[in-house]
Symmetry: D2
Subunit: 302 residues, 4 copies
């Protein structure tokens, strides 16, 4: 028998991934986007925004551990963390697992996504929205970073891609990263999702270059995420802490000391995997020298 309900994710007009949906759990629209909670036949429950799978039960831990843990370990003793975006609640979940963390501020623009996540995605947030260390702000992360005076040990950007139609592109330009840098406490670390280095190498490279033009140290890394049918990239940056220094650390011991609960993806070996970028990707990323600014931003196809 053939499957009939499909979500087709178009990478470009000439390629797409099709995933059969077992059950539609929620379908609504907010001011910002179309929101679906589906149960995929193979990937389990998932959050889908504007037709893009944001994370699926089968491997959301890969993305979220990869986004959060290298940054917080690089800092060493993070107490105050700012999360921009991260509606599912899994990014704050990973942050709150760090024993040193005393305060997390999460700024997300879409209250509907938060409500839907609270109701339908308990496997993601695991109660994090109720953690007394969390301060949840519904609002524009761009404005928050520019206007609010509070500083943080680590800032994590878990945002939508910089599509032309949406507001997120302002959070991928030099001016924004300069504002982020000013919001970091001494020894502070910044990490952002940075689109797919194989599907959108130019975008990924420009995000890296732009961050590198602001911070003294910046590294790109990536990992395969099955529910994205591809690899996903990140950029980790700091003025005082060199991401390269993580390779020399005993990451497994740090994880055991600093993080409550058990990791499923990230450890010393996974770290080596993510930060060892194959030659042709390194060459492609490093051949691109453009920097995104408010006047000349970078966009990804919707």
């Amino acid at each position: 028998m053939y499957k009939w309900n499909w979500i087709i994710e178009w990478g470009t007009p000439a390629s797409a991934h099709m995933h059969a949906v077992k059950r539609f759990i929620y379908h609504g629209k907010s001011e910002f986007q179309e929101i679906q909670i589906v149960e995929y036949e193979e990937l389990g429950k998932a959050l889908v925004l504007d037709g893009k799978t944001q994370s699926a039960l089968v491997d959301e831990f890969v993305y979220h551990e990869a986004l959060v843990q290298p940054a917080l370990l690089l800092h060493g003793n993070p107490e105050k963390v700012l999360v921009l975006g991260g509606g599912e609640g899994a990014t704050i979940r990973e942050v709150l697992r760090f024993k040193s963390v005393k305060k997390v501020v999460m700024v997300d623009i879409d209250p509907v996504v938060i409500d839907v996540a609270k109701k339908y995605l308990p496997e993601w947030h695991q109660g994090s929205f109720n953690d007394p260390r969390l301060k949840l702000i519904i609002g524009d992360g761009y404005k928050y970073v520019l206007e609010n005076k509070e500083r943080f040990d680590v800032i994590i950007a878990d945002l939508a891609d910089p599509i032309e139609a949406g507001p997120a592109y302002k959070l991928y330009v030099k001016e924004f990263y300069e504002a982020v840098k000013k919001k970091l406490l001494p020894g502070g670390v910044f990490v952002t999702q940075a689109t797919s280095p194989t599907q959108m190498p130019y975008t990924h490279a420009v995000i890296y270059n732009t961050i590198k033009s602001v911070f003294k140290h910046a590294s790109y890394y990536h990992v395969y995420v099955k529910s994205f049918d591809g690899v996903w990239g990140f950029v980790l940056a700091s003025d005082e802490k060199d991401p390269e220094s993580l390779s020399g650390m005993d990451i497994d011991k740090l994880i055991e000391e600093k993080i409550k609960g058990n990791n499923r993806f990230y450890d010393k070996i996974a770290h080596a995997h993510m930060f060892s970028v194959p030659k042709y990707l390194r060459e492609e990323i490093e051949s691109i020298k453009d920097v995104a600014t408010l006047d000349n931003p970078i966009f990804t196809p919707a």
Copy 2:
């Protein structure tokens, strides 16, 4: 304008990848399979067998360097190499780049694929079919390994997946790997493609286990291949040489010394990437203990 010619690769009945085809270059059938040469809109020219993209111009080098080079470097001084399968001619191309190699025997079952590759895939074989060091045998790799008495420094299995309808499953069982081991000269090394560890973790794990039950040392590794929309796995084995030892070597220096021409994918960093398998994949692969035998073979879905 919408694309209209598509190849849809079904991973399972519930997921597929769609790639638009710009031009159909060749379409025929052999005794063994349906053969197409297409030009994808995004992946360039590609060989497609029974609807599965075998390799595409945009990144065939990733797969072929990953398959060949770790094995030949692990051996150290390979003179005689046996390639089973590898119809495109890119596997022998990579083997023939090694300065030490004096003789390559390639055994492929399908003469039509060879002819098509010679005619339509010059970017793959780059004249390798005319190299005087090559001996090309059209025949069954299984029979060749069992019946022929010649021994080799390295044996490379670049074969179709073990689907139930096809003959390849016999080249993924313990009895076959025992025969392979007998065909190795002292210090000999064996490497095989081993399906996708994320799409078919059970098959990948059984191939690894079966090889490990025959050889003293065996390691699994994998790499993302964009034209497969996923990661692809390999198993590298030997009685005398431990694949783990490669991590300690100066791979970049070895490449410079031993291999003609320039690599596009493989170097010390790419090696670290491939052989550093993330935790959840290691745990999944190592939790599976089954071994494939002629009486109890392993199959992948067609």
Copy 3:
């Protein structure tokens, strides 16, 4: 921007229709089937059972007028009508539009479909479920026809296709049609949906032949239904009334006299269209001589 939510209806493994879904309104499962109410981008709201679009707002009137009106006009003065299936409530809507009708018994097996239709498909039933002339029975139409003694002027079979996995095939065999005939009052008329004569000509022809083996008069007819992306067939039969006689009647006048409200599809010209079956289809249908029985039923692919 590309559409991402799709229902793909597979006619066969080698052909399919894709329709983009704007909104998922309801998704559930009953004992009998998977039930969805969706809003298609182009077809409007629709009922989808097991992945098959049953009827869509944009043209449900074509199917329902075509199913009901020729049969009731052929009868001439229908007072008691039995509807088997017809969960949306649009078949009884059309029946209840006939001024002569005093009683409609509707027998549908799936109470969940009825509840969903009552709640989500008011445009279909238009309050018909509350009409005092209606007696709604949740139960097996096959059993009802065999066991209940009440007789009717017209019997309408608006049932699922006779797929192998489902129970409906028993309502497409000679024994069932003989039971139907016994439930007709003198001058009684029977009509059934009869699958697509172009997509499933064999099934359509066998349904026709089987009915023709039981009734003195039987005619097949069909009409294009855009939301099915094809033509849909029906068989109209009676012992006393010849469907061919309708061609000679002043159908437009009869419609005006006998039916409340306005037709959107059916009139004298549409009748001529439906009952004038092109030559190659007539020849194909009439070349098939098989009759379906309980021992040798007819199936359509799921």
Copy 4:
């Protein structure tokens, strides 16, 4: 086993038909379009231009008999016929079947399509390109009609849809139809394909209105074509002969007298089917009053 080669015909961004291809026979590009000859799994061999199936072996006779025969029968004694387009050679085949026909001029813009049809589509043209009555002109039908002085009994427009990117739109405007009218001999008849009345009702209606604004008599008709997954429309027009008069004729006798060989689709009953347009379509078509002119042409989506 799943099919992997597909042609997806997008009706709109929100709906598509998928057909599996068994074999790619020819793939090329001309100055005007991308040309493919494929063998569909279900529809047999087919000509596909710019991704649109023009006609398939399984039912090309439906379209071609429907296009040609009513027009030539309406004329009564056609001796000279002009065919614009019709690259497959099946339109001239149908014209040449008429015993009265002494000369056919066929004007097609694309010599590559003609060559491909001659070589790969013998079932379509059946040698018609070699009929001594045929004069084949490679050229622009628009120019030919405006500049050439020869007159014809019947003119048949078997052209591509009026897409915005292509040149065909000029053959669907009032000025062109006025030129066509001047090229008709006394008693002359014009027929044109007129897109799908259900998929593109506005375009179909405007073509009808435009022709009606030029000719005294004009009728629209349509028929379901399985290989188009929908119904296809035509407009038949004349100053002296009323298409409605065909309904009163003994079409079966005329076919026997005037046409060599046997029809597969068209006869008196099929005629009644095609010219009896259901109410909602009549109302939709007749509600549209726009006329296409060179300054204000009608387009269909590519």
